[in-house]
């Protein structure tokens, strides 16, 4: 079978975006990873190497997520993906997933201390003062560290943001 390198490349490029896309539906990281693994297995067993793999994978992930939500008793109107603020469209979840994956990797690469400060701000919603108090750092230090962290994230996201802005309706294939 000649598709071994292809599927490995697909994993490299699409695994994390697919996980983040599925996370908008399921909000359970373990279930998300299972769903995405199943999607890759389905694609691999299907045997089509080059035929619109990305679209196929996203469709499988979406369908499996919706199946899971239905089994959990969700009604039809509760099957939409969500972000931190509430429901979003499937297209938006799909379109965001590549940028979210890029930001995820950028967070991964941040120095541990700076990353923790950023997460306290963005994940926990703490103000600089609250973070300064919790960590014993000065407010200026907290502000500088978070500012540098955001700068790193912007740098990482820049290329993909340009891409999204230039091609907002880029087809999946």
């Amino acid at each position: 079978m000649g598709q071994n390198p292809d599927i490995r490349e697909l994993f490299r490029f699409h695994y994390r975006p697919l996980c983040l896309y599925a996370l908008h539906y399921l909000k359970d990281a373990d279930a998300v990873e299972d769903v995405v693994q199943e999607a890759f297995t389905a694609w691999w067993q299907k045997g089509d190497v080059a035929d619109n793999a990305r679209a196929y994978l996203y469709a499988i992930v979406r369908n499996r997520c919706i199946d899971i939500l239905r089994r959990q008793g969700r009604q039809a109107e509760q099957l939409l993906p969500e972000d931190a603020a509430g429901a979003i469209s499937d297209e938006e979840a799909m379109g965001r997933s590549a940028l979210e994956a890029r930001l995820w990797e950028a967070v991964d690469r941040l120095p541990a201390r700076r990353r923790e400060l950023l997460l306290m701000s963005k994940r926990d919603g703490l103000s600089y003062e609250q973070i300064a108090e919790a960590t014993g750092l000065s407010v200026n230090t907290v502000r500088n560290q978070i500012s540098r962290a955001l700068q790193s994230l912007r740098n990482s996201a820049d290329s993909i943001l340009d891409f999204i802005l230039l091609f907002p309706t880029l087809p999946l294939a």
């Binding site: 071994n4 940028l99 930001l103 991964d108 963005k122 912007r154 340009d162």
Partner: protein, 279 residues
Amino acid sequence: MKEIQEDILRFVAQNWKAGRFGPKQAWRRFRATEEAAEPARRPAFGRPVWGYALVCALAALVLGLFLFRPAPRTVIPAAADIRTVVLPEGTHATLAPGATLSFRRHGFGRRDRDVTQTGKVYYSVERNESLPFEITASEGFVRVLGTRFQVETDSLGTAVDVVDGRVLFAAAPSGARKSVREEDGVILTRGMHAELAPGVTVPALSEAEHANPAAWATHFFRYENTPLEEVLHELSSHFGRTLRTDAHDRRLTGEFEGEELDEIVSLIESALDIHIVID
């Protein structure tokens, strides 16, 4: 530099965890799961040597079966009626009731034009100088380049009647003789008839029972100074009627094409100024 949407950043931050959603770990898990789930697919991730050996052995077996299998043939089976078929290279073959015809499905008209028949078949062979049309009929063998003729096999042997052109008629190759040369048989031309009896190596020229042995297929009658009694005998036999006349000593030269007995009889009556009774 673009600003990152706050809700996107918050979504990532809220879900980020070291090592989560890592493609490398996921790939390793995928490989392990697939290998355990379906051993048959294991070769995709690192084929064991015995797997290659098994595949090679199976491939050799399949290739051997492919090379030594009987070549698939197209068979035109026996039918109760006369029917004409057009072979892939353009030759028309008219099969009498009960006759069969077969030829190799692949390469017919390109590599060869070899057919095998039983019963009685009339051929109008598309001319091809570089690829002779060859017929094996019981113990008989016929080779032509392009002509019209009839081959008939029955328990008495094989008979060939030529309507037009030039036909090589011989015994079919057997034993050490793998091919047929012209000196192995007889050359038949227009109007000639020859028969090959079972066990005989060279066909014998003889008189056909009728002047137009292929008329059942061609509906064409040609007579050249033929005694009228022979003409009426052939037409009676062909149409299943009895034809009588008092003009026993007359002879007929002419050609008739058609399927209506009344029409042919009328033409003969006009040509010879005689009366023919149809019973």
